[in-house]
């Protein structure tokens, strides 16, 4: 059952007062849901609609427009590898393949244990340290296979 943590509900209520209109709190509210659940379900949107008194359709419209909001369950660690121009030149695509093989997933999918999702993303604004990826919001720069091994190994130890 969908149950947003109390402090997250409070946070959403304060975001509704933070900007000129409560409409602007939709993005912050979606982040609150996603940070707890890893994605945003239909139930979550119904809940937000009731909490914020904003029609479901308006929340859905925002939700589906932005690529950072996940429309299906996503792993605890979302590895987002940049495959835009500078990163591709530095081997970002091959590294994505390497990660996928290592975790036995396809890009855009989640590992069987629900721990890792791998995605190809557009320029992360870190092209001087290409190739780059984000694990959730954390940047990993100047990547190579050895670094990937280390990162994944340390993430696997976390539960």
């Amino acid at each position: 059952m969908f149950q947003l943590a109390n402090e997250r509900v409070e946070k959403i209520k304060s975001e509704m007062k933070r900007y000129e209109t409560k409409q602007s709190a939709i993005i912050p509210a979606l982040y609150q849901v996603q940070e707890q659940y890893g994605w945003v379900s239909k139930e979550a949107i119904d809940f937000l609609s009731e909490l914020m008194e904003i029609p479901v359709a308006e929340i859905r419209e925002v939700f589906t427009f932005y690529t950072m909001f996940n429309q299906k369950p996503t792993g605890k660690f979302h590895l987002q590898v940049c495959t835009n121009i500078s990163c591709s030149m530095a081997g970002g695509r091959e590294l994505t393949d390497y990660i996928c093989k290592k975790l036995n997933v396809k890009a855009g999918e989640t590992s069987a244990d629900g721990k890792f999702s791998v995605s190809k993303v557009e320029c992360l604004g870190s092209c001087d340290t290409a190739p780059v990826m984000q694990n959730n919001f954390e940047y990993h720069e100047n990547l190579n296979e050895a670094k990937i091994d280390q990162i994944i190994e340390s993430l696997q130890k976390l539960n």
């Binding site: 709190a25 982040y31 925002v62 932005y66 001087d128």
Partner: protein
């Protein structure tokens, strides 16, 4: 040589916090601004020749003068969406000097008589959002934000807003839609944001670097500011350099700086044994230059225009002779297709179509006529849409095909890359 005006203190960690920032002259220009009339500051920014650093290079003072004088509330929005592929200089500035941006916004807010500002930051920059929130709190606590700043009678509130992954929210009207809580779709102009922007109120949108630059115009004066740069492209500019150079990074040089020198001196030249093939001088939307053009051009608005390209966001992507141009165009077109917001048919259909053609070619399945088709479709995407994204996809396409036609021809004829000897699938699996 680099001319470090904006970036002078970026290597110092103490510059990030308010105390260290103040130690190096931070927030001194606020008092200076309050001694002037807002209009005088606008005149000063005009006289200094400051042009927007976000992409279009529009004169900042002139944009500020477009605000209607009707007593309506105004907003000042800082564009920190930084999504143009190859660009990372705003990130650098906000990471190393969040207060510099805040001070620039207070001064600019005073100049345009706005009492509320937002910094719209791309969602991926979560660490910067947190850093800015902390810095804004420090500035409130020190009395630089809020009511009656430093006893001047001027009120200014500032807050941060997080995007959520959409390049199109960097376009100013898309950004406004997004900040208002809707999908970030651009709106037809006019009305321009200066007349009808955020919540239909007059709104100024400026890039991070533009707003920070205002502080230095006040500090150094118009004459000193104009000492750097050319007659029409004044001051210094932060360039984000990436790709095939020894030392990629953010470099501040005067506008008008030779691209060759930027590559060879600041960035340490190419990797050993490599030759320059091409340079994208202003983010992936900017028409590409071949080596000959790149080695001759200077980095200012006019010089780049004269070779058919643009300064854009100042993102320089250096490409050496080991790169397959067909592959790089395919990567670039994938991006624009993914980021088109879909409102305009020529953009939605066009980006999809050219992406598909490029993709077919890199798979070794292209036909000779596909090369001309790429160009024709791209040409038909230009100048027809609500925002410039459609043109931003068309311009690289046309320039890649025109300048590197031999590589496209080889690819469709032989079914493999002229440079790599294989198809994309063979190289990348």
């Amino acid at each position: 040589m680099e001319a470090k005006i904006i970036s002078e203190h970026y290597t110092k960690d103490e510059f990030i916090g308010i105390d260290g920032y103040k130690k190096h002259g931070g927030y001194e220009q606020i008092a200076n601004a309050f001694k002037m009339q807002p209009k005088e500051i606008i005149e000063m920014v005009k006289a200094a020749g400051l042009r927007g650093r976000g992409g279009a290079g529009f004169p900042t003072g002139m944009k500020w003068s477009f605000l209607p004088d009707n007593g309506e509330e105004r907003y000042l929005l800082c564009n920190a969406d930084e999504g143009e592929p190859g660009t990372f200089k705003d990130r650098k500035m906000m990471e190393r000097a969040p207060h510099q941006l805040i001070e620039g916004m207070i001064i600019s807010g005073y100049a345009v008589n706005s009492h509320k500002g937002y910094i719209y930051v791309r969602g991926e920059y979560r660490h910067i959002i947190e850093l800015l929130e902390k810095a804004i709190k420090e500035a409130y606590d020190a009395g630089y934000l809020g009511k009656n700043i430093q006893g001047s009678g001027f009120d200014f509130d500032l807050d941060v807003y997080s995007g959520a992954g959409a390049y199109i929210c960097g376009e100013e009207t898309g950004m406004i839609s997004s900040l208002e809580g809707y999908k970030g779709q651009p709106k037809l102009k006019p009305p321009f944001p200066a007349v009808q922007g955020y919540l239909k109120k007059p709104t100024i949108v400026n890039n991070v670097e533009t707003l920070a630059s205002v502080k230095y115009i006040l500090r150094d004066g118009v004459e000193a500011y104009r000492k750097y740069g050319t007659e029409k492209s004044t001051g210094t500019k932060l360039f984000s350099v990436s790709g095939d150079v020894q030392r990629p990074g953010t470099y501040e040089v005067p506008l008008g700086y030779p691209l060759k020198q930027l590559i060879e001196e600041e960035c340490g030249g190419l990797k050993p044994g490599r030759k320059l093939k091409a340079v994208i001088p202003g983010g992936s939307s900017a028409p590409i230059l071949n080596a000959e053009e790149a080695y001759k051009v200077n980095m200012d608005y006019e010089s780049l225009q004269s070779v058919g390209s643009m300064l854009g966001s100042g993102a320089v992507i250096v490409i050496d002779d080991t790169r397959c141009m067909v592959d790089l165009l395919d990567v670039t077109l994938h991006f624009y297709h993914h980021e088109s917001c879909g409102q305009c048919t020529p953009c939605r259909e066009g980006t999809g179509w050219i992406n598909k053609i490029a993709n077919k070619i890199v798979k070794g399945e292209g036909r000779v006529q596909d090369i001309d088709l790429l160009e024709t479709v791209a040409k038909n995407m230009m100048g027809k849409t609500i925002c410039a994204l459609s043109d931003a996809a068309a311009m690289p396409t046309i320039s890649f095909v025109q300048k590197f036609r031999d590589e496209f021809e080889f690819y469709v004829r032989e079914g493999r890359s002229k440079v790599k000897g294989q198809t994309y699938a063979q190289v990348h699996g």
